[in-house]
Symmetry: C2
Subunit: 447 residues, 2 copies
Amino acid sequence: MSPRLLVVFLLALLPFSSSCRDAQEKDRISRLPGEPNDVSFSHYSGYVTVNESAGRALFYWLTESSQHPESKPLVLWLNGGPGCSSLAYGAAEEIGPFRINPDGKTLYHNPYAWNKLANLLFLESPAGVGFSYSNTTSDLYTAGDQRTAEDAYVFLVKWFERFPQYKHREFYIAGESYAGHYVPQLSQIVHRKNNPAINFKGFIVGNAVIDDYHDFVGLFEYWWTHGLISDLTYHNLRITCEFVSSEHPSPECSKAIEAADKEQGDIDPYSIYTVTCKKEAAALRSRFLRVRHPWMWRAYDPCTERYSGMYFNSPEVQKAMHANTTGLAYPWKTCSDIVGEKWADSPLSMLPIYKELIGAGLRIWVFSGDTDSVVPVTGTRYSIRALKLQPVSKWYPWYDNGQVGGWSQVYKGLTLVTIHGAGHEVPLHRPRRGFLLFQSFLNNKPM
Amino acid sequence: MSPRLLVVFLLALLPFSSSCRDAQEKDRISRLPGEPNDVSFSHYSGYVTVNESAGRALFYWLTESSQHPESKPLVLWLNGGPGCSSLAYGAAEEIGPFRINPDGKTLYHNPYAWNKLANLLFLESPAGVGFSYSNTTSDLYTAGDQRTAEDAYVFLVKWFERFPQYKHREFYIAGESYAGHYVPQLSQIVHRKNNPAINFKGFIVGNAVIDDYHDFVGLFEYWWTHGLISDLTYHNLRITCEFVSSEHPSPECSKAIEAADKEQGDIDPYSIYTVTCKKEAAALRSRFLRVRHPWMWRAYDPCTERYSGMYFNSPEVQKAMHANTTGLAYPWKTCSDIVGEKWADSPLSMLPIYKELIGAGLRIWVFSGDTDSVVPVTGTRYSIRALKLQPVSKWYPWYDNGQVGGWSQVYKGLTLVTIHGAGHEVPLHRPRRGFLLFQSFLNNKPM
């Protein structure tokens, strides 16, 4: 190429690449209020408009890998609810690089942050959740599975334009709970669209809503076999809730679930063997006290959810994160009540999507913290059994530091991993075991 | 009464009371090696011969109440196995006044010792278990439920002669695991003999073998719903083990149980969410390290069982406890392999005895630590359901320090209490909750 041609060629590229770089740089977080001194990775956050006419914009936070981000895969993380924020849970409590101190102002490093292994893209989805918003208020009352998936796909395509260095990079989708719907649904769109920029490899979901019938059967059995509910209520649940939508249960089923709630009492349903966030628990937060109260069974603060409410509502934090630029009429919340309660379409089963994507040869892992009574291991087992996959391995215990970390079974097309002693948010309750799981998933090696 | 007559009367009493006092005093423990300085209760231990011709003698340890022993009830505590020592478990790990330090030589106070509420009589039963022995070696190979109960009754009668101050005192029988057989069986004899010296009021059993059919169904369901075994093994267990004796399973059932054992891996089946006694765990024993390893979920040492082997085999300890006076041919062990493996008669169900004793108006409480996979809460629930008792209360959570301590349901004639987060040895894993349970039982008040 002649020098002259080269200049023309470079000039042709310039507007595009510099505008990308500009957009990226505008999203770069220079410093988060209260962050530790030794932050060794780049991170970015901001909005991507997914629907111009309605004014729907989704908020993301990209935390790049702390070592060699350019050679690490990209993982999109979604939390469920529906209506819950991926910043509140995924980023601040589960797999993100920082945890928030009880002061709600300062951060500390998560020693088992998943961005040691991958570049993590947290998305607050759908519009109305966390900092994500819609200028069309009615959108909040009509959110549902389909629009959530479609908006997330638009987000992805536009985000890759803003971060072209991630185009063609190994890409995975991950999440937990009701993201058990979001993750396969978005995966299906990404797979079907076959956009060459998106090098989609597979997905991983934890304590995931998969199939309403099997989830419910497993849920009620879990409650009874873990001693949480009476014989009578168990009987009533089986009679009134089978073949009912978990998002839109019948009045009779709702009544039985209410009775079950009452019988369970004030436990943490997401982690049934840990203490709840109460005055008593709060008083036990210090490490000193924890030693003297052995039933405080791990360095896990049951009040952690409160701190994200303080942190993400701080104007300084919002400014540093380029969040809430439009002046939202409501505070940032861990979960949106409106979105959660008014949820529209929710298909009864993800199993057809599993079948399609297993058939496409994508990597699919399902994990389950086995002390969660909200989307428990029994429901997950029943749902996967319903797929009638061919086992490749037996059910076997996997080990961490000489202790059973959980169990696993590899099937043709799907790997199931349980994490022993972990609740709904696996990486919160068993950070090291969650990290080992993620490592195995990325390496596509059994536990 | 004239002074002269009084003297005659007192002289008539003297031979009896002084011989009792002598026998008691011979059994008094003046000091246990390694005990703390501030021991505030009297304790006694020694042998009671239960069969002269065979030379069977049972070893007991009475730890009187630390406050007003004369007004407190007497509680006989039995451990199961069959073949396991009540010193090893009940006294040293569960409800006794002392726990043994890792050095195997020194003791420390158990802050939730049950002798704060009652006088505790620990019995090593049957002959062949712990320090209890038989001069007829074949006895060890032919032990079974019936002789265990009969010998224990003979022990009781003779023991009350040695400790006449306990005659007519409120008396309860307690125990756990396979003592789920011993306790009701002995209770039945005591009730039927109607010995006026024994003021028998009722019994309490924990994680108790009750009814082989319901225990097995609950056991297998517990294993599967807690993610410990495969779908296939669960299926095989249900097919091969139903209607089989748990002490004498069929070869097919044994094979399925072996497969389940293998799949469960190296967890502690008696407490499925705690660490096992391994090098890694041993290294974490110190309080300092426990703070830094949050998965070490309570001030509970999984290697505790080892220390009793060291302590009770010390010649000084044996001398202080008047134990092993005949020079046993084998060391003191936590559980006797011979007795455990050669167990003879074992009725399939205790439910008929429950019915008889409920009918007699005795106080009967059944408790269950809900993280035990050996005699789990599901089996206990099925067994009690089979009694078809009339509920007096709903299934409800009970609280300790604002946290759910477990659940309870009061029936006409029986109270069921679960202890949340406790394994097979409830007072070891949840000492405070176990203490509250015992207090409620003695006061006959719901949790």
